[in-house]
Symmetry: C2
Subunit: 376 residues, 2 copies
């Protein structure tokens, strides 16, 4: 059994698929690609049992072939080759021989039936209605860029380790939170008559961010899986089966005090104050008065402290409020494209909303920051 | 006590000095800078007790001041500031206050007498004759770039953990070796009547590589130290007190078989063969025949093997010779600017010389590679 393929085309394909290969796994078989050749079409799969990627490429083959090959080794070989034709020759004795103009490489393979079942999409499932929605790749990437950082890393509450895709009458909403900060991005209008919640695991998001381009993405939604179909690649992910927490309950509706401030000014000050905030609490204090923000931090362990004044527009009550400096920094980093941001406050114990000052026409971006207690 | 300094000028200075601050040390005091202000000149020192760096800057100060400040924290603060004037105010209670237009920062300092003695240069030592030599910064950087990788990391033979500076009648020679490979670079003519050997520790080399520019460097040589004086910074290093091994004894004089080969071709092939060479031995086999080099490797553990053919010019005896693929790769990486290299061989058990095909007028570069035993 044999087939031929152009090295650069194969490299392009493997580059897209390899993000799904787990780097550490108790199941070594997952460190392989599954190759399926059917009627001259080579389809390559990889999975970590949570997500799977697949993509196809036409090759020169006379027979149908299924086999399992070491992902990293094959990828490294293929991408180290100049453009050439690679001739794959599959021996009965468990070896594949790759031949190019100047080289011969031999790898071990396994039979395809040793590969586990790939998370599959119940496309033909009679019992379940499938939903389909299309979204632009650039928009989807933007949504992930703005929200992904706020997902929880703690396994206590599995739903918060994913990003919520919520289809509502208003549009498609992305929500991520770890209980300390929350991001809420609404794309207006995109709902296609669906109203439902889907919680997409972190790994699907991070792999999608590697492969998304500016083209449209079709999402197919079932109760247990989402399939993302890009131009020439499909990612299927299991959904997190737990209910997402009621995020809307924590969003304050009456934060009446607005502080408008230059994003870069407050961000630069926070970056310096991070140097002084104590390693354990990372606390900084915002002392807000009329048109004046003072940020301060203190690390008693090393005997260092800092205070900065930042100009702002503020006409509300004077407030002293504490934050985790790392979380403030995260939020401002993800708003760094905005010239000005608005902090909406109510009291030292109530969640603070941080928003771009300029609204976009077709989307609403809102970030939320929980305060921390000040000692004095 | 107080002084004022421009933030960007101080940043530039600290950036040059901080490489000497050890990142891990059993002596926390070394994680500080020593500041000395004398007659309006601020001199900053850092040392790890093996090397020291010092540089100076004019500041606005009325008094002479000596103190010890946390290096990393001060550096991070200063480099996060925009261009501004920093006012340093030293309190009696162990605090320095830094004030800028918008911020106030307070750090703890220690007294200068808590700082250990800095490796110093016996400039006025009556008993010892001091030697002085000048070398261009670009040339010195080139010498380190070509030789540093071959220094030993093993503490068994301390001299080999440094680079040999050998002043001979031919010129200034740089040698580094770990017993498996050796680099020998001669700058012709640069000797200034000195004939002696100096072994410079690895850390001095790596710090110098960060701070060297194209300007001339003055080296002052004593029996125990070298001082490198750059434009505005001085690095003093202890020398390694052990005798450097007799490297010339291992350089074969009669390797009569010459293989001329395109550097990129053989390097690309080696990089692929590294994927197949066994993890423990990293062995590759060169099978050299008339105008033909075959490189092969085999990893029995993963059941993979590879063979590549590379065109070369060779008219000597047929030879099968083994190498550590990582060491071949290192050598070829450091010759990657050369279009062709020449391998000079004699037998499968004798050291192989690798040289650029094109000689330079004022320098001679030679690399040497020990073979490894082939099993068959």
């Amino acid at each position: 059994m044999d087939f031929k393929v152009n090295s650069k085309e194969l490299e392009k394909l493997l580059t897209k698929i390899i993000p799904a290969v787990p780097s550490r796994t108790p199941m070594p078989i997952l460190e392989n690609f599954l190759f399926e050749i059917k009627d001259g079409l080579l389809t390559i799969y990889a999975t970590d049992l949570e997500i799977s990627l697949k993509s196809s490429l036409k090759v020169v083959a006379e027979e149908n072939i299924n086999l399992v090959v070491p992902a990293k080794l094959l990828y490294e070989i293929v991408r180290s080759l100049k453009e050439t034709t690679i001739h794959f020759d599959i021996n009965k004795n468990g070896k594949i021989n790759l031949t190019t103009d100047n080289g011969k490489y031999s790898l071990s393979y396994l039979d395809a039936d040793e590969y586990p079942e790939i998370p599959s999409f119940p496309e033909k499932d009679a019992g379940e209605e499938l939903r389909e929605i299309s979204i632009n790749g650039t928009e989807l990437r933007y949504a992930f860029e703005k929200t992904a950082f706020a997902m929880s890393k703690e396994e206590m509450r599995p739903a918060m380790m994913g990003t919520l895709f919520e289809f509502t009458d208003d549009g498609l909403r992305f929500v991520a939170t770890d209980g300390h900060r929350l991001v809420n991005l609404l794309y207006k209008g995109k709902n296609n008559d669906i109203t439902n919640q889907y919680v997409v695991p972190e790994r699907a998001i991070s792999v999608l961010m590697k492969i998304l381009d500016e083209k449209d993405v079709k999402m197919f939604l079932s109760k247990t899986h989402i399939s993302f179909r890009l131009n020439d690649i499909e990612l299927i992910t299991r959904l997190i089966g737990q209910k997402y927490p009621d995020y809307s309950a924590v969003i304050p509706l009456e934060n009446e005090f607005l502080m408008k401030i230059k994003t870069k000014d407050v961000h630069d000050a926070i970056k310096r104050m991070m140097l002084f905030s104590a390693t354990n609490t990372r606390r900084v204090k915002f002392s807000i008065k009329e048109n004046s923000l003072e940020i301060s931090a203190e690390d008693l362990d090393i005997g260092a402290s800092g205070t900065e004044n930042v100009v702002c527009e503020y006409a509300g009550d004077s407030i002293d409020i504490g934050f985790n400096s790392g979380y403030v920094n995260d939020i401002l980093s993800h708003l760094s494209g905005e010239e000005n941001v608005v902090f909406k406050l109510h009291s030292p114990t109530k969640a603070v909303i941080v928003e771009p000052q300029k609204k976009k026409e077709n989307s609403d971006l809102m970030m939320l920051l929980m305060p921390v207690r000040l000692n004095n």
